[in-house]
């Protein structure tokens, strides 16, 4: 390895040309073949039982997510203009190729089933828009009398009405999203039009997140560049350090395109990872070079670069390999995009390593050494500061230990509070349009989020049985008593309505009928008079399956789990009736999916800590070095999760990936420090002096690295998209804790365990 690197030094131009050629190749691949994967369903492991079941149930009952258009008229909706708009929007939605005609529900399409003195009447609420005062009044009364519509399609205050268009998973495109929003806008005034629903939330998120990143990333890079410029005091060095990051990113995405793997939402985190990890190599190399030159300014370019390579290639390779292995441990995840994320980030990290070791020396050979401006008293004061810091640290070790212990305890307490959230809405600003619209609809109607509960029995006609249906009805009442649940809907609602209507609208008959015959006959009657298609959204041909839809006023995982807990109380009772319970729908899938990601994330975190320990022990041929080197990562991860728990930041797909950064960075700091310390100790045979020297050499580079990345990622705190803000804050936090943890706790541990020291070094301790 070392020989190879030195050989490459003799032909720097060829090296650069080869790198350039590779970069052009990967860039062309990226340009011609890269594709974005936006369909969230593609992220789910297709053969996981929960998803298999949900997909099946979605097909059985035609369960789809609904786009909700709310039309508000503060004067009330019963006027010719608003009713006309409801009709027109309904018809326009029905004409869209992405939407099936029968999947649009509004006051215009709804059936009004009413009881009359001698029977039953099924009519549309209106076909032609009513114009006269009496006709409008009549419509108002019809709606008021029908609880299947009142509160579901028309709000209690009669100022808002909904139009719901259910769409399949696969039809959502950016163009469709824009057309829906334009459609809503075109009917504004004097009515207010709101567009909401899960597809819209997902769509907005898919647009807003990356768009915000596109705006913020250039600023992040500029800030990093400026800070690098200040710290490295060289334009050339700054450019090469950043080039390493850019080129490794191009290679990574180029390779992805080359092997035909699409860019998933999590893949957009790869550049973030590479920026945070990749700049370190350049910083350490240049930092070492600068320090060498300050001491031996007579060195020729060649000698200086050769010295840099021989001294630094090992820690750079070690840090890169351990970081890459940490990412590769993500292959244990059940979620393909996460597997790819781990694999390709590992590739990116290794690319950054190769580029640093080839391109930076080659660049130095061609463009010559940077001019080292000797700051007046800097070296002296720097050195002394490092030594003073390291000495002070050793003196006050009990203070460090107490503080660290305290932080760990607080973090562990905080970790208990960490919760998982699969919510999409919680990712938006609380005063953003999309959240306000959702809130508005939730205040006026049953709820914008859906959970499907699917009941199944082996017996044909199981759900014509009144005993089973009564339990269903009781359970629905129970669920609806939860504040967060707006409504629930199942076959029992149809039967209760029919029973009431067939008994002259007598409220005492608003119950499940007694006999199976009557239930069967009501259902037959419904088929004769209503829209029979509706029935197959709640049950199947054999009445062996039942679909109960619960409308929830939040897509937050905590709230959804509360509803599920309530439902679970009925599992045994249903089991007694030979009925099995399962869940379905996109909200539920998101819930399971997030759990899966985290499960994988946590197990891969544990696994990578073990791998890192093994690797470090192996590399330094010392188990203690492995143990000590793993400490910064463990502290960083603990604090990362602890802070999330304490600040009530839920774990989500993006925040979970943060732990990978903690490992990637934590390990780099530890390796650089330990490696340098080992060298220094071998030279001086004095632990204290070695620690001070190492603090001056590696500590400085680590500080630079932390400052650069923290400064860059703090920019994300000004992002308009909350998840990106959290990302910025967590990356900065991880950088900071890794930095502090390495230079304090780990240093103390090195001393305490007499790492790499010979037996006779014990005497050192007496000085304290």
């Amino acid at each position: 390895m070392k020989n190879l690197l030195h050989k490459l030094l003799q032909t720097p131009k060829i090296s650069l040309i080869i790198i350039l050629a590779l970069t052009v190749f990967f860039f062309m691949q990226m340009k011609s073949k890269a594709s974005m994967e936006t369909n969230l369903d593609k992220y789910m492991p297709q053969n996981h039982p929960a998803f298999v079941y949900s997909d099946q149930a979605e097909e059985w009952f035609n369960i789809k997510d609904g786009i909700i258009i709310a039309i508000e008229n503060t004067e009330g909706i019963y006027n010719t203009s608003s009713l006309d708009k409801i009709k027109k929007i309904t018809k326009q939605l029905q004409k869209m190729p992405e939407i099936e005609k029968s999947d649009v529900t509004s006051l215009y399409t709804a059936d009004n089933i009413v009881g009359t003195e001698d029977g039953m009447d099924v009519k549309a609420f209106y076909k032609r828009v009513p114009k006269s005062e009496e006709k409008l009044k009549e419509l108002q009364q019809k709606v008021q009398a029908n609880e299947m519509v009142m509160g579901r399609l028309v709000s209690a205050d009669e100022n808002v009405s909904l139009i719901i268009a259910r769409i399949g998973d696969d039809v959502f495109t950016q163009d469709f999203y824009n057309r829906i929003l334009d459609l809503g806008k075109s009917y504004e005034g004097p009515e207010n039009i709101y567009v909401a629903g899960r597809p819209i939330v997902e769509g907005t998120m898919a647009l807003l997140g990356p768009a915000d990143m596109q705006k913020m990333v250039p600023i992040v890079i500029v800030i990093i560049m400026l800070v690098l410029l200040v710290l490295l005091r060289s334009v050339k060095n700054t450019i090469f350090t950043l080039l390493v990051v850019f080129i490794s990113t191009v290679w990574t995405f180029g390779l992805m395109a080359f092997v035909g793997i699409p860019i998933y939402a999590v893949s957009t985190m790869i550049p973030v990872m590479l920026i945070a990890i990749g700049v370190a190599y350049g910083i350490h190399l240049y930092s070492h070079l600068e320090m060498t030159l300050l001491q031996k300014s007579h060195l020729s370019t060649r000698d200086a670069v050769e010295d840099m390579l021989s001294e630094m290639w090992k820690p750079v390779v070690m840090t890169a390999v351990t970081t890459a292995v940490g990412f590769i441990s993500l292959l244990t995840s059940q979620v393909y995009p996460i597997k790819y994320f781990g694999l390709f980030t590992a590739f990116g990290v290794l690319s950054a390593m190769v580029l640093s070791l080839v391109m930076i020396p080659a660049g130095l050979m061609i463009f010559k050494l940077p001019k080292i401006k000797k700051p007046k008293n800097s070296t002296q004061s720097n050195t002394s500061f490092a030594h003073r810091f390291s000495n002070g640290l050793l003196k006050n070790k009990s203070l460090t230990i107490v503080i660290t212990g305290l932080i760990i305890v607080i973090s562990i307490i905080g970790m208990q509070k960490v919760w998982i959230n699969s919510s999409f809405l919680d990712k938006f600003e609380t005063d953003s349009d999309i959240v306000l619209t959702d809130k508005f609809i939730n205040e006026n109607f049953g709820g914008t989020s859906m959970l499907s509960l699917v009941l199944e029995s082996d017996n044909k006609g199981a759900f014509k049985n009144s005993d089973a249906l009564r339990v269903v009805d009781e359970m629905q009442d129970d669920i609806e008593s939860l504040e967060i649940v707006g409504n629930s809907f199942s076959l029992s609602d149809y039967l209760k309505r029919m029973n009431k209507v067939m008994n002259a609208d007598d409220e005492t008959f608003n119950i499940i009928p007694d006999s199976q015959e009557l239930i069967a006959q009501y259902l037959l009657l419904y088929e004769m008079s209503g829209d029979p298609e509706n029935l197959w959204k709640v049950t199947d041909y054999d009445f062996r399956k039942l679909n109960i839809t619960v409308q929830i006023k939040s897509d937050n995982s905590k709230e959804t789990n509360k509803v599920i807990d309530k439902i679970e109380q009925y599992r045994d009772e249903f089991a007694g009736l030979g009925i099995e319970m399962n869940y379905a729908g996109s909200g539920y899938k998101a819930l399971v999916f997030t759990d899966l990601i985290l499960e994988g994330q946590i197990s891969s975190l544990l696994m990578s800590i073990i791998i890192v320990f093994v690797l470090l022990s192996f590399m330094f041929k010392n188990i203690r070095a492995g143990l000590i080197g793993s400490v910064p990562i463990i502290i960083t991860s603990l604090i990362s999760f602890g802070v999330m728990g304490l600040l009530n930041i839920p774990l989500s797909t993006t925040t979970a990936l943060m732990s990978s950064i903690a490992i990637g960075i934590g390990i780099d700091y530890a390796v650089h420090f330990i490696d340098r310390y080992k060298i220094n100790l071998a030279k001086t045979e004095d632990m204290k002096l070695s620690l001070g020297k190492t603090m001056h050499h590696s500590g400085r580079a680590i500080l630079f690295n932390a400052v650069v990345v923290i400064a860059g990622f703090m920019v994300l705190l000004f992002s308009v998209f909350p998840p990106n803000r959290v990302l910025g804050a967590l990356v900065s936090l991880n950088m900071f804790t890794s930095f502090v943890g390495t230079l304090t706790v780990m240093v103390l541990l090195i001393k305490y365990f007499n790492l790499f020291s010979k037996n006779n070094q014990r005497k050192e301790n007496d000085n304290d």
Binding site: G119, M120, V122, M502, P513, E517, Q521, Y541
Partner: protein, 256 residues
């Protein structure tokens, strides 16, 4: 078979005026007014099949009678067991502006109830047939054009396109293959409001009773929903002289 007299007069004139070429309307009127007997008794087996291939089978005993300016129909469910003896009565009027009268008797409730609907576009008992598809729609509601004449499996047909006059109607157009001289539809294609192909009706079997032709097996397939319905008549008897009083609420309760 309701307005035989007026139609006869009309047809006489039509016959004189267009002795050679039949117009689309002529053809569709011939179909609409084809004699089907004064009354009919039959067992109807209705098979519904959804896209997954699940089937539901209903067996119904039905009685029909033509009574001046109205048709009366009564149906008794035989199976499935839990709806046995449920009966359904329909009075359909020659007057286009008058909605059908419908009653249902639910034995579990022991009550006859009137049910009413304002739409002929409703699907009949959850099948793929609307009331209109079953022959209730008068040809004067559409504009008909003969597209061509075509021979299908050796049977000569007129191919007639019908476009509703009411633009809000559920079909934008239908195309019917009418068998020459028999005036029965061999097949019919339906296009939805957006002019997309919606469903296809296929005649599978018919029986001739003298000059009366009874369609005994017909299937409708909704291609958009991949759902289909087959209606099969057996034990068909015509002109047995069913009494008028057979079509009353009392008889609905009593059964057949």
């Amino acid at each position: 078979m309701t307005k035989i007299k007026t139609t006869m007069v009309f047809l006489l004139f039509a016959g004189l005026l267009f002795a050679q070429e039949m117009t689309g309307l002529d053809i569709m009127l011939k179909v609409y007014n084809r004699p089907t007997g004064d009354d009919m008794t039959a067992n109807l087996t209705m098979t519904l099949e959804n896209s997954r291939g699940d089937q539901r089978i209903r067996e119904i005993k039905q009685f029909l009678k033509e009574m001046g300016d109205m048709d009366k129909k009564i149906m008794f469910f035989i199976s499935p067991a839990d709806v046995r003896n449920t009966s359904f009565m329909n009075w359909s009027y020659a007057d286009e502006n008058k909605n059908d009268d419908q009653w249902i008797y639910l034995p579990a409730l022991k009550k006859v109830k009137r049910i009413s609907s304002d739409s002929k576009s409703d699907y009949f008992m959850g099948s793929d047939f609307t009331y209109d598809d079953l022959g209730d729609r008068h040809p004067s509601q559409d504009t008909h054009t003969v597209l061509k004449e075509e021979s299908i499996d050796g049977v000569d047909c007129y191919v007639v396109e019908s476009i509703p006059k009411d633009e809000e109607y559920m079909y934008s157009r239908t195309v019917t293959w009418v068998v020459k001289d028999k005036w029965i539809g061999l097949k019919k294609e339906f296009y939805d409001e957006d002019e997309d192909f919606l469903k296809r009706l296929t005649l599978k079997e018919y029986k001739e009773f003298g000059d009366v032709i009874i369609i005994t097996n017909v299937a409708m397939k909704n291609e958009q929903k991949n759902h289909q319905t087959e209606m099969k008549l057996s034990d068909v008897k015509i002109n047995t002289g069913i009494a008028d009083r057979q079509f009353t609420e009392r008889m609905m309760k009593r059964g057949f």
